[in-house]
Amino acid sequence: MSHFTKVQTKITDLDCLKQALEDLQYSCREGEVRVRGWRGQWSEADLVADLGGPYNIGFRKSPQGNYEVVADWWGVEMRTGISQVKFVNDLNQRYAYHKVLSEVRKRGFSVAEDETLEDNSIRLVVRKWS
């Protein structure tokens, strides 16, 4: 082992974001979409995940290039039981999984191991001969 790095994930890749939402079984719409909140209030977004009710969860690209999660969390949690912390954590994990696979494959690595551990973290081993 030569070095060890810890990275805080930032969502910048729209394709990986959509794959992550698909894994979590949300259906998405993109384009000119709106995040809906309390009493018909709304806000613009680049992508929304539907929750099958009056509320939804949106994603908006920031000037720094990463996607921010936009929602009326009070309403979302009341209607669906989905908390902001749980949603964001699950999303970050699935996003990171797809982003890692997409990046290492671009660089010619093959995936030797891919498993979900007991604590629900994901362990990957990727390999390259050079």
Binding site: H3, F4, K6, V7, Q8, Q93, V100, V104, V125, V126
Partner: protein, 68 residues
């Protein structure tokens, strides 16, 4: 000489990613996983382990071969 290089990647439940590089020594090792760190976000912690300071065996081998 062909070398096996590996990365062990652990993705926590909160999406924090830990990357361990194996089979790559020295400065090259830090560069080896850099593309992935940059693609994912922000590096919050980096620890260099003993192998970093070892003489890269593969380089020695290739130098000897060139002299023959």
């Amino acid at each position: 000489m062909v070398l096996k290089r590996e990365m062990e990647i652990e993705i926590g439940r909160d999406g924090k990613v830990s990357i361990k590089v194996k089979g790559v020594q020295g400065v090259e090792c830090l560069e080896f996983s850099q593309f992935l760190e940059e693609a994912l976000g922000e590096t919050v912690e980096q620890e260099i382990t003993s192998e970093y300071y070892q003489v890269p065996a593969s380089t020695e081998t290739s130098v000897q071969q060139t002299r023959q």
